[in-house]
């Protein structure tokens, strides 16, 4: 379905015409082997703990913090778009927020550890305005010892 040719005509047109930024530079950060990495999830699905304020389109309202020990029933999604599937997330949060799989990989020693805090943006905001928040979130991730960020869209 994420193949453009399999989408409805309306959805295909939207994604074909969506303007994507290009960059003159190609930043690239290296790090230790995977089994020494501390991994955080950064989602753009508009996820947050149930008792947090829902995402809005207000300027500045760009991200939420998801504690690493969050439980499945405490995570909800308030992305404003009606144009992607939510039934996968409804059945199994790992389809959008693969925290259980990540915890398993850490227990198996495949990755070093899982971050204490994860983050979610809400992808309906202008990506260039979201980007303004990235340095702040990056500093928070570094204070958590994170050296591997897994970006997960919807």
């Amino acid at each position: 379905m994420a193949r453009l040719e399999q989408m409805s005509a309306a959805d295909r047109k939207h994604h074909e015409e969506l303007e994507c930024p290009t960059f003159e530079t190609q930043p690239w950060e290296d790090g230790p082997p995977l089994n020494k990495r501390r991994v955080a999830i950064v989602s753009t699905a508009g996820l947050h703990p149930r008792d947090d304020r829902p995402f809005t389109l207000d300027p500045g309202d760009y991200y939420r913090v998801i504690p690493g020990d969050v439980e499945a029933n405490d995570l909800v999604m308030t992305h404003v778009s009606a144009n992607f599937d939510r039934t996968g997330f409804q059945q199994d949060w790992n389809v959008v927020f693969p925290i259980d799989r990540l915890r398993e990989l850490a227990e198996e020693g495949v990755v070093g550890s899982v971050a204490d805090f994860h983050y979610s943006f809400m992808g309906a905001h202008d990506p260039m305005t979201i980007a303004q928040e990235v340095p702040r979130v990056a500093e928070l991730l570094k204070k958590d010892g994170v050296n591997a960020v897994l970006l997960v869209p919807v």
Partner: protein
């Protein structure tokens, strides 16, 4: 695209990509393209082994010597392909409805349908130990009252004071769809239907969908600008609205 900015801030990233064309343009440092549906970046609910293969493939990109790297995940998502059974919808407009208006009839039918869905929603919650319903602050029992108030031209009491009523209505619509989605996928033989199967069932066969379409129209007619935006774009999927428009 966020990958570019995180790397610029000194953090290594890898990402899952759902729209390959966008990733080809933005050229993030490390990306794994997957063929899955929008909204399902790990592919398959209830399939930990599959999810782990996707996750590992994305994380293994950290071992690349240089980039940008754009790799394709070799598997499509497993899909039951099953058909969602039609809800036994107890709608009978001739039944003891006297002089009800069309809106009152619709709301009465909707509330009966919600009740008929409740056992499956409850089973889903027990089975999964969670629900995604409730972000709007409205409980299941009041969702119908709030949406029907809007149809009747009344301003309902908002369950949230921290966001606008219009925005709350959009989240209530998502809560309603989640209530139905969680319930139908708990029915026998519906363990892992594709999103299309669930969407076709919901938008093609439920009174709840009829109600949301009516709410959408009411929001568009509102004098509140935010309510108009919610009605125009945030309740009904574009593909459903386009199909409705084509049918006239």
């Amino acid at each position: 695209m966020l990958g570019h900015f995180f790397e610029e801030a000194g953090l290594p990233t890898t990402q899952i990509s759902l729209i390959r064309r966008h990733t080809e343009i933005t050229k993030p440092p490390r990306a794994l393209w997957v063929s899955f549906e929008l909204g399902r970046p790990l592919g398959a609910p209830g399939d930990p082994a599959f999810q782990k293969r996707v996750l590992l493939a994305a994380l293994r990109l950290f071992e690349a010597a240089g980039g940008p790297v754009l790799e394709d995940f070799p598997e499509d998502a497993p899909d039951s392909g099953g058909e969602a059974t039609t809800l036994a919808c107890p709608v009978n407009f001739a039944q003891k409805q006297g002089d009800l208006t069309p809106t009152e009839k619709l709301c009465a039918a909707f509330k009966r349908e919600m009740v008929s869905m409740r056992p499956w929603y409850d089973i889903a919650m027990k089975k999964r130990g969670r629900t995604t319903v409730g972000a709007s602050g409205a409980d299941v029992e009041t969702i119908g009252d709030i949406l029907c108030s809007i149809l009747e031209g009344r301003v309902p009491d908002s369950p949230r004071q921290d966001i606008s009523l219009a925005h709350t209505v959009a989240i209530i619509a998502q809560d309603l769809m989640a209530y139905y989605g969680e319930g139908i996928t708990a029915q026998p033989g519906q363990e892992s239907p594709s999103s299309k199967v669930v969407a076709d069932w919901f938008w093609g066969g439920t009174v709840a969908a009829e109600l949301l379409l009516a709410v959408q129209d009411a929001c568009k007619r509102s004098e509140d600008l935010m309510m108009q935006i919610v009605g125009s774009a945030l309740i009904i999927p574009t593909s459903v609205a386009a199909a409705r428009h084509e049918r006239g």
